[in-house]
């Protein structure tokens, strides 16, 4: 926290913290002021508020900004007019205290609907709003995952398709509520009930042999389904039901292994399962369907031999799968670094565990995707990273932002990058020094000034700032 009075940090840092605040106040920059607001003493905050909330237009900007500090949004909610209230109700950063205040102040159903679906709305707010006269407010309450079970149970009695669908998917809906809903809801609601982890066993049993394929499909996706029902669904005549069953995390590996599946769609899903036997993996690696091979090429349990086989595949996407496989041995990575397809090379270049030999092969590239991947890789030689930071493509240069080992020279280049997004993103780099960040306080882009000021305020240890 920066303060004008003495605290237990170094005099230097404190003075510079004061200097930053003084500068922001002198320049009157809304965005820089927003950046430091949470890091200053309450007394200084009220000074900053004159910069931040000076005009109605500024108040509207701040009320809608998800990056605005919560305490500022809270302050803004005091006596907010309809326009401000609507923006605050929509802003996902608005804290519960402000939402409660807005609920008491504001009768506009649009704003109340936003309050009812707000991720920070607490149980008390949701209970109150569930009694709102407007159906759209009640629908939003029903769809909010924080709505308590008793409210959900009460809303289940309302004859409204959207409320019923929301409740069928609500984590707070218990077995009794779902049973009640089953009698009221349409086929879509029933399908959602069958997929719900709290669905009563009686309803699950009905769905197992339901003629409606939608119900069986949703049932097959329910993680609470018992093994015998799941086994039955694995042999369902409809492949979309079998596909849903194969994706169910409750399924045991052996049951899937035992399947001699005719549908390529289902085999593709089998290839994505985390646990597979060596036999099944081998079968899938030689599957006639190329999507099956693409999926299995990424499977972590693939043996080195099978990976080598797929690394010679004619399909570049299969080879890319091998290049991205966490079990891919070093010698294959070296081979794939010289692959004719740049997208395969890029898959190797992204890997921090790629051997030095692979990296040195990749350094010959001029492909944007490979360069972008090398730019992110902490094992790319520093000189090459500097060259990437000077590349004429802004997207390639931006890769440096994601490289925790990027040398200072590359970072400074990014901080002076002509492309605003690159400057905005480099501000967050841990190795960019504060002197370079301080220069960005004058950036023409508000986003850059905000991030620069916030970072300097967080560090509380800024270098000498320009007046």
């Amino acid at each position: 926290m920066m303060t004008a009075v003495s605290d237990n940090r170094s005099l230097d840092g404190m003075c510079n913290g004061v200097a930053l605040t003084a500068r922001v106040l002198a320049v009157g920059d809304l965005y820089a002021a927003l950046g430091i607001y949470s890091h200053v003493e309450p007394a200084v905050r009220s000074e900053l508020e004159t910069v931040i909330l000076g005009t109605r237009r500024q108040r509207l900007i701040v009320a809608a900004a998800p990056y605005a500090p919560r305490n500022l949004l809270d302050a803004l909610s005091l006596g907010a007019d309809d326009g401000l209230a609507l923006r605050l109700a929509k802003n996902t950063s608005t804290p519960a205290s402000a939402l409660r205040r807005l609920m008491a102040q504001c009768s506009d159903p649009r704003a109340r609907r936003y309050l009812a679906s707000h991720p920070n709305a607490d149980a008390a707010i949701l209970v109150d709003l569930s009694r709102d006269d407007a159906i759209e407010v009640q629908q939003a309450v029903a769809g909010n995952p924080a709505t308590p079970g008793d409210v959900v149970a009460r809303l289940a009695g309302i004859d409204d398709a959207l409320i019923q669908r929301a409740i069928a998917a609500s984590p707070a809906a218990d077995a009794a509520t779902l049973a009640k809903l089953w009698d009221l809801g349409d086929d879509w609601v029933k399908a959602d009930i069958v997929a719900h982890p709290n669905c009563p066993a009686t309803l699950l049993a009905i769905a197992t042999s339901a003629p409606d394929v939608r119900l069986r499909r949703k049932l097959a996706a329910n993680p609470m389904i018992d093994q015998s029902a799941l086994e039955r669904l694995l042999t369902d005549p409809d492949d979309s039901v079998r596909a849903a069953a194969v994706r169910n995390p409750a399924i045991l590996g052996e049951e899937v292994d035992a399947m001699n599946e005719a549908s390529a769609r289902v085999r593709r899903l089998v290839a994505r399962r985390p646990k597979l036997s060596a036999d099944v993996i081998e079968r899938l690696a030689r599957d006639p369907d190329s999507w099956v091979r693409r999926w299995i090429a990424r499977h972590p349990d693939m043996s080195a031999e099978l990976l080598a086989e797929l690394a010679s595949s004619e399909e570049a996407e299969v080879r890319r799968g091998v290049a991205r496989n966490s079990s891919c041995p070093a010698h294959l990575l070296v081979r794939l670094a010289a692959d004719p397809a740049p997208w395969v090379q890029a898959g190797v270049a992204l890997r921090e565990d790629a051997p030095a030999e692979a990296i040195s092969i990749l350094l010959n590239t001029s492909d944007r995707d490979v360069l972008g991947a090398l730019g992110r890789n902490r094992n790319t030689p520093a000189q090459r990273l500097v060259a990437i930071a000077r590349h004429d493509d802004a997207d390639v240069r931006r890769a440096i932002v994601f490289n925790p080992a990027a040398p200072r020279e590359a970072l400074v280049l990014l901080a002076a990058d002509p492309y605003p997004l690159n400057r905005a993103m480099i501000v967050g780099h841990a190795r960019l020094d504060d002197a370079a960040v301080a220069d960005l306080l004058d950036d023409p882009e508000p986003q850059v000034r905000f991030s620069a000021a916030r970072r300097l305020a967080r560090h509380g240890n800024q270098p000498a700032l320009k007046p």
Binding site: K90, T92, Y114, S117, R217, S240, A243, A244, R247, R265, R268, R272, W291, R294, W295, R298, E317, G321, R324, A341, P342, W343, A346, A349, L350, D367, R368, D369, G372, A373, R376, D393, A394, D395, R398, A399, F402, Y419, L421
Partner: protein, 317 residues
Amino acid sequence: MSEIIVIAIQRDGELRSSSLEAITAARGVKQAGDTLSVAIVAANPQGLAGALSVEGVDEVIAVKATDEFQPDLIEAVVGALVAERKPSLIVTAHTVDAWSFAPAAAIKNGLGFATDVMALRREGADLVATRAGYAEKVLMDIDFPGKDTVLLTTRTNVFEPASGQGSAKVTEMAAPAADIATKHEGWKQPADAGGIDIPGSEFILSIGRGVADEANVEQFLELADKVGATLGCSRPIADNGWLPKARQVGQSGQLAASCRLYVAMGVSGSVQHQWGMKHVENIVAVNTDPEASIFSIARYGIVGDMFEIASELENHF
């Protein structure tokens, strides 16, 4: 009765198809008694006259000069045409060529001016141009009170290229003296996209950060393949190296220029992403957040989980 002139553009001696689109735009506001001329600056303008003599064009003005990119020269041609012919309207395609000469020509000749025009109409005798404003957030109708001549650049891939055999007469015009202040170094082709064609695709399925993990991307490649779409993505997905940069849609990526159906899954709809797809007639958005900005431009919105919707979609193909 007045004259409308289209400034056609060639590249290395070949006509740019966007010039034919500009002719369509101009033809749409031609009134009874108006003439429509097309001017072309090239080393062999007569050789391009046939392609420009489409239905509705009365005259092709052939300016023999160079095939090189010389915006100062085209600016001088515009100046000479305004002085000699006093056209009511000059139209050219909104391309890198136009960016280089149109603003200067408008200022120097005191013309009414609007760029990147997406629609053009007459209200009575008055011309009204529609363009986007505030980073594509609003559509603006622009009129030009008090302007005898208006210069417009038209957005590419919005107007159909003009076709139909015409019978335009060809007139030669001497290249005016121009103060050439720029030097053309050469054309740089965009990086090889490895067969990925976002600008040319009519159906794009795009994924954003909602996809959560590299391991999930393959599922959407598979879905796109199944439904016959090209897979596009938002910037963070390409930045992460999960999909090639050629698939990125938006301000720093590609323009979905030919797209008629754009399905955005797990894309919030930032202004920069919208830059590349907002114009698409049919946008379908799938997002768990009902407040996501993408819904404000979507024709159809689905508040839901992109993985659930994706597997539901698979059931239909």
